[in-house]
Amino acid sequence: MKQYILLSAILLLAVTAFSQERYFTKNGHLSFEAGTDLEDINAVNNAATSVFDAGTGQIECAVLIKGFEFKRALMQEHFNENYMESDKYPKAIFKGKIINIDKVNFRKDGSYPLTIKGLLEIHGAKKEIETNGTMIIAGQAVSAHAEFTVLLADYNISVPGVVKDKISKTATVKINCIYSVLK
C-alpha cells in the first residue's frame, strides 16, 4: 500500500513539474502596420524576447525599439527620433497572463485558443490590453501567435498634422513566437 502511495506521489509531482515548465524565446517575430491608403508603414523586429509559465500562465514579452527594421531609412529614422523617442524609451514591454492556459494540453498536439490580458508599456505609457491568440503544440514544438490593435494616442505618440493622412491612428501588431523549454 505504501508503495502505491509513494508511486502516486511521484507521479503527481512529475505531472505538476511538467505542467509548470517555463518556455522562452529570444528571437520572436513582432511586426506592426500603421499605414493608410496613401502610405505603407510597416516594420519587423526578429528579436522579441518572451517567456511564459505553463503552470500559472504568466507571460512577458519585450522588444528593443531600435530593433525594428523598415524598408525605408528615413521612415526608420523618423520612427525612432520623432515618434518613439527610442533613446529615451528603448523598450516596449508586455507583462500579463494567459487566462486560459489551463485549457492548453502540452502533451497533446493541437491548436489552442488563448485569451491574454495584461499591461503593455510603449513610449513610457502603460495601458491594459486584452487580446486573443493561438498556441500550437506539435510534438516538442510550442509556438504562439497573437494580433492586436493599439491606439497611438494611448501611448502619447502624436502624429503631426502634415502627415496625419499617411499615418494611421492605430497600429496593428502581430507577434509570432516559437518557444523552447527553459532549463
Binding site: 529570444k26 528579436a47 519585450a62 528593443l64 531600435k66 531609412a73 528603448p90
Partner: protein
C-alpha cells in the same frame, strides 16, 4: 537671354533638383551593414560585460554602431520563414549575444556548428536579456 528668363530657368532647375533629392531621400533604403567599414571589433564576453556593468554607457558606446563580435557559437536557429539567428556564448549561461542574420545569409548560418568560433558583423540594437545584433553576416 533676358535676365528674367535666366532666373526662371535656374529656379526650375533648383526645384527639380530639390524634388529629385527629396525623392531619393524618401526612398533610400537602410544602409547595408555588410558594406560598412567603420566597425568596432570586440569579443562576445567583453560586449556582454560592458552592458552588465553599465547599460547606459554601453548604449552610448555600442548601440546603432556596427560591431564585429567574435565568440563561440552556443546555438543556431533557422525558422520556417528562413529567419536565421546565431547565439554566441558570453560566459553567463543565462545570457548570450543574439545575432539576427540577413535573410540572404541563411545559407552560411546553416553551416555553423555549435562550439565553433565565429566573427559576426552586425548592428547593435541594445540589450534585453541578451545583447542583440541585427542585420548580421559572417565577417570576412
Amino acid at each position: 537671354m533676358h535676365m528674367w528668363k535666366k532666373t526662371i530657368t535656374i529656379l526650375v532647375i533648383l526645384v527639380i533638383a530639390g524634388g529629385a533629392y527629396g525623392w531619393y531621400l524618401y526612398n533610400k533604403k537602410p544602409a547595408d551593414i555588410r558594406k560598412q567599414t567603420n566597425c568596432i571589433e570586440l569579443k562576445a564576453t567583453a560586449l556582454a560585460e560592458a552592458f552588465n556593468q553599465d547599460e547606459a554607457v554601453a548604449n552610448r558606446l555600442y548601440v546603432e554602431k556596427v560591431l564585429i563580435v567574435s565568440g563561440k557559437v552556443s546555438n543556431v536557429q533557422v525558422d520556417n520563414a528562413g529567419h536565421a539567428t546565431v547565439f554566441l556564448e558570453t560566459g553567463d549561461p543565462l545570457s548570450s549575444i543574439t545575432c539576427g542574420f540577413y535573410d540572404d545569409e541563411t545559407g552560411s548560418v546553416k553551416k555553423m556548428v555549435p562550439g565553433t568560433i565565429v566573427r559576426v558583423k552586425g548592428n547593435c540594437t541594445g540589450k534585453l536579456v541578451d545583447v542583440i545584433l541585427n542585420k548580421c553576416s559572417l565577417a570576412e
